[in-house]
């Protein structure tokens, strides 16, 4: 019988074929949702879709784009923001 934590939907099932030719169910944690832009809600490019434990193993430059607002806003929204700020400052 699967234990309670395996029935809550937190884990996904993976069917693995063992060397003894049995099919066994393994449980793995689900991947999080795709990172989205804070403004337009479109999926961000250059941000891997992985759990925080794996994010810790990556280099900081591999986790998000290396521009200001990288990993928070998409490139188009960041451009618009910089334009607005530049025009306000005048």
């Amino acid at each position: 019988m699967p234990s309670g934590k395996h029935k809550s939907g937190r884990y996904r099932k993976v069917f693995v074929k063992t060397p003894g030719a049995k099919n066994v169910v393994h449980y793995r944690e689900r991947k999080p949702n795709k990172a989205i832009c804070g403004n337009c809600k479109k999926p961000l490019l250059g941000v891997p879709r992985d759990r925080p434990a794996i994010f810790g193993k990556l280099a900081k430059t591999e986790r998000r784009p290396e521009r200001p607002y990288g990993g928070v806003l998409c490139s188009a929204c960041a451009r618009n923001l910089h334009k607005e700020k530049a025009r306000e400052g005048q």
Partner: protein, 145 residues
């Protein structure tokens, strides 16, 4: 004549210098300009620049030092690359980690040699006994005969 003339102050929109102010130093062609200031000195597409009304008196192809003088008057910091010295970098300390392993290996070797010597002694001692015993047996046989 485009708006990106020499001396035009702009804000960079794309890349890691985005949101920083720069001055057009040279017009390369209709699309590209050379830019310097808070950003790195770089050839840049005009699509990546937002022009401001502000202009600055600068010669064409002005050097980085000239741009720095102008930007100091405006109260802006200029991008400066710091050349890293080789001594500043921490050296890889692999050798220190390997040392204890080597010591352990030496110890095992020493132990192994000690054991071998002991075994040799044992071996040497055993055949003598055997010889003695054989001689005794021979003597006994002779006596019986």
């Amino acid at each position: 004549m485009s708006i990106f003339n020499v001396g035009r102050v702009c804000v960079k929109l794309a890349g890691r210098d985005a949101g920083k102010k720069c001055v057009v130093v040279e017009q390369i062609d209709a699309r590209f300009v050379m830019v310097d200031g808070e950003t790195r000195r770089k050839k840049v597409s005009t699509k990546h620049l937002e022009p401001l009304t502000q202009t600055v008196e600068i010669k064409e192809k002005a050097s980085h030092d000239d741009v720095k003088k102008v930007f100091d008057k405006l109260g802006l910091k200029v991008w400066e690359t710091k050349a890293k010295k080789t001594t500043e970098r921490p050296k890889k300390q692999k050798l220190k980690k390997e040392k204890p392993v080597k010591k352990a290996a030496k110890k095992t070797e020493e132990k192994a040699t000690v054991k071998k010597e002991e075994k040799k002694e044992v071996k040497e001692s055993k055949p003598e006994e055997k010889e003695v015993s054989q001689e005794e047996v021979k003597v006994e046989e002779a006596i019986e005969a």
